[in-house]
């Protein structure tokens, strides 16, 4: 019973409560939104146990929608999307709580948009009908556009429209590709349907047009990831967005790109994706992302921009892991996706919190604040270490698995990627030192107040996750494994080797 309605409930609840948030008095908006998002999280938690590790889609709901074109409302999760759904519902209450004192104007609109955004994001991860997927992919664009454009920083208009047009450009070409797939499968079978399985079972006969279609999907997802050199929207959007916007952008929206590769681009066009030149291009771009992202992060005076570029580097690891296509590397990539959501989310929260106190994001504005705000400094240190991938934290498990798995397929690339970990240590530790250690020079910083209980309530769940995944990742890996294995089998038959460590 729970299995048939849970995903639909997860999609519908934020929409309904989003409408309610618009109607309540504005001082109540954040309270209502917080309760709504907590209930949403509550609905999603049992999925962790209901989900049985195994192949195939679970918790499926399927209804007719636009019958003239065989469009159906089909949703379901497997080991790949399960964690992304849970990550979404987990981050939402924290984002709302984290915006508590940051958002001062038009609160109703802000919280309503956050809730609508939840629907769009979960929709992308659970949609098993490509029309539904496309609709959800676009639907989440509008709330984010408004969140950046209305509540963002000084340069918000530019950042918002850049974000919108980049994503819109990629996704519309994907729309044409989806249509061609649909007509191809329809002509072949006489059954016109946008169902994921239906389309997947007829991609083998595409012929040379598969190259164009892969290109369209690639562009849409690569912009979202973002893969170098399509990443330029990301620093702008991140820096201008309010804290909750940055957290969601980094934590979830970027994962849609890598998820798209895992779910659509790879299984649909294995021949193209595994073509040597394509492999070379994507691996090289991922490596450039890792190294270049790290190097650019190193010279950023703005802490938020530093984190934004570190995202480019982390997502480079994910792409490398996906394209290496071994069991470890794909599982590792999935873990990095989750870890990046947790660690980078936490970093953005921390930067947002200190910004609220001091109204500056420049690293040089701080220094020696460990003495003034010890709790903040301690948490920032732990989170930074997890982002660097120190053993014992979540970051280590993911990047280690990616590198381990990638060594089998691309030994050279994996070696180069390893230096990316060192670069990460270089920029984050330097920044850490300049912000919280060093001598306390500025008088303004002497009056900073330490974290409030509300802020601790935002950070502690993230810290728990950092340590949990870092010490005991097995429950995660166990649930991912069958789906990762099935994916590799689908893309490169006969290549599955080795078990999860």
């Amino acid at each position: 019973m729970y299995a048939t309605w849970v995903l639909t409930a997860l999609l519908a609840w934020p929409l309904i409560t989003g409408a309610i948030v618009m109607l309540v008095p504005s001082r109540m908006a954040k309270h209502v939104a917080l309760v709504a998002s907590l209930i949403e999280f509550g609905i999603s938690v049992p999925v962790w146990w209901t989900f049985i590790p195994g192949t195939g889609m679970q918790l499926v709901a399927d209804h007719a929608w636009i019958s003239a074109w065989g469009i159906r409302y089909t949703v379901g999760v497997d080991g790949i999307s399960l964690f992304l759904v849970l990550l979404t519902t987990f981050l939402m209450p924290l984002s709302i709580l984290g915006s508590w004192s940051y958002i001062m104007k038009r609160e109703n609109g802000f919280y309503a948009l956050l809730l609508v955004l939840t629907t769009g994001m979960i929709g992308v991860f659970v949609a098993l009908d490509l029309f539904l997927f496309y609709v959800m992919w676009e639907v989440m664009l509008i709330p984010m556009y408004f969140i950046i454009g209305v509540w963002g920083g000084d340069n918000r208009l530019y950042a918002a429209i850049k974000f919108f047009i980049y994503t819109f450009f990629g996704s519309l070409l994907m729309l044409v590709a989806i249509l061609v797939l649909y007509l191809h499968a329809g002509r072949e079978t006489g059954v016109y349907s946008f169902g994921y399985m239906h389309l997947l079972s007829h991609v083998a006969t595409l012929g040379s047009i598969a190259w164009w279609l892969f290109g369209a999907f690639f562009l849409a997802f690569a912009i979202k990831v973002p893969l170098f050199p399509l990443h330029t929207w990301l620093p702008d959007a991140h820096v201008e967005a309010p804290t909750a916007g940055s957290v969601i952008l980094a934590g979830i929206l970027l994962k849609m790109g890598t998820y798209g590769f895992l779910r659509f681009a790879l299984p649909f066009f294995p021949a193209v994706a595994l073509h040597q030149t394509v492999q070379l291009i994507i691996v090289v771009l991922s490596l450039i992302g890792i190294i270049y992202g790290g190097l650019v992060a190193m010279v950023q005076p703005d802490f938020k921009k530093l984190i934004a570029y570190s995202s480019v580097a982390h997502l480079g690891f994910v792409m490398l892991g996906i394209w290496a296509l071994t069991l470890q590397s794909v599982q590792g990539a999935l873990l990095v996706m989750i870890n990046h959501g947790i660690s980078t989310g936490a970093l953005f929260f921390l930067v947002g919190m200190i910004y609220e106190r001091r109204h500056s994001r420049l690293i040089e504005a701080y220094g020696g604040i460990a003495r003034v705000v010890p709790l903040f400094a301690a948490i920032l240190t732990v989170v930074s270490l997890s982002s660097i991938a120190l053993p014992g934290t979540n970051g280590f498990v993911g990047e280690f698995l990616v590198l381990l798995g990638a060594f089998r397929t691309y030994p050279v690339a994996a070696t180069i990627a390893t230096t990316g970990v060192i670069v990460a240590a270089a920029y984050l530790l330097t920044a850490l030192q300049r912000v919280i250690f060093n001598p306390l020079t500025s008088h303004e910083n002497e009056k900073l107040t330490d974290l409030t209980p509300r802020e601790l309530a935002v950070l502690v769940p993230l810290l728990v996750c950092i340590l949990w995944v870092g010490v005991y990742p097995k429950p995660f890996l166990r649930r991912m494994e069958p789906s990762a294995r099935a994916l590799i089998q689908q893309v490169r038959p006969g290549l599955v080797q080795g078990d999860a460590p």
């Binding site: 003239a68 676009e138 639907v139 454009g149 429209i161 819109f168 044409v176």
Partner: protein
Amino acid sequence: MKLDPSLYGDLLVALLPELVLTGWALVLLLFVAWRHRSARDLRIAGWLTLVALVSTAAVVWWLWWNHTEIAGLASMVAADDFRWVADWVFLGAAGLTVLISFAYLEREQLLAPEYYVLLVFGTLGMMIMAAGADLMVIFLGLELMSVAVYVLAGFDRRRARSAEAALKYFLLGAFASGFLLYGIALVYGATGTTNVGLIGVQVGLSQRSVMLLAGLALLIVGFGFKVAAVPFHMWAPDVYDGAPTPVTAFMATGVKAAAFAALFRVLLEGFAGVGVWRDIVWWLAVITMIGGNLFALGQHSLKRMLAYSSVAHAGYLLVAVAAGGTPGTSAFLVYIVAYTLMSVGAFALLAAKGRGGESDVLIDDLAGLSARRPWLAFALAICMLSLLGFPGTAGFIGKWYILIAATNSGQNVLAAILVLTSVVSAGYYLPVIMAMYMKPEPSESAHVDVRLDTWGGAAVAVVVSAILLFGVWPNRLFDLARSAGDSVQPPPAATSTR
């Protein structure tokens, strides 16, 4: 119900909607001859017009419900689902125009109830165009429509721009009519008939002559003028800009829909055997999409931007023409319904903001509207997103249908250009939203006099709900469009050659 065109009574039934509307037009004419002084007379005339439109729509519904058909090919008028659906679009566009005209005419002191008479005659012309199965009937409808709209464009006679718009529209429209008529003459010379169905048969049987191709080219030029396809669009921005805003809404939706409806029938029924028009339309579609969108990108005035965007949308509709067949025709109907809704909505909201013809409302003048008039801003945002083709709105569903029709007929390049130019269009639709929501109000009093009256508000509410409804649940619309699209078919003999 099967009608025999040789029977007088059956012919009357086939023309019943047009006859009913003509009757109402005469009643209105009498009324305004008798009462044309006060604002109250104007209001009564408006209500009479609405009654006329609704009752005509009901007659159309009755004919549709009874599956009215005409036997044989040689009839002067067609009676098929395509015609009924097109009629509803025209009547709907006219009805919405009436609703937004009530307050507008009083505000701008255009107290002449003849406005509504012209509106009804214009609509009548459109219905005749959609009904025409003979080039002469189509031409007759086109002229009836055009003459009424020439006058409507210049209705704000105290403003020079309105007069300029009317003159420009009249001169270029007369040229277009000339092209069309000459094309008809050449086609007649080549085939010996002006009946669309018989032309189809002739074209299928005989060799193509230069005269036929020249006639076809002139027909396309004539229709190209009316739908404002690049490079025949020069008149459109100035005329749309100068005409009173409700008239602009009527021109952008009704006139365009009627010209496209006639174009579909002529090309798909009459010239299915001549493949060359597909190439012409292909190129027209490409340059119209690219041109319209690029020109719109450079506009600062909201009304001019909407005018150029309407050119761009003509380009999208031309993609449906190039796709052809049942999917193309259905896509046209779905898109024109969506386009009518969102266009009327946008123009209605523009009329609420502007004064004295609205041509001086810049996009930036909307800054901060969302804080002062949240519902109006929301409605305009929905219209803009729908024009952009964003999922969840009718505009997306329409574009999606056109894309399916295009890829289905192998026009992948056209589909790709359509989506790429749609991305360009984000560059001018989004600034409207950006201004309303993301820029601060210039002063406390900037938007004080922005308001919609009850009936304008009702029109906008209907439009916005319909946009959202069709965006999420378009099933009924699709069923209707599909059966209507099915009814425009080349005559049996013409299908073999292409």
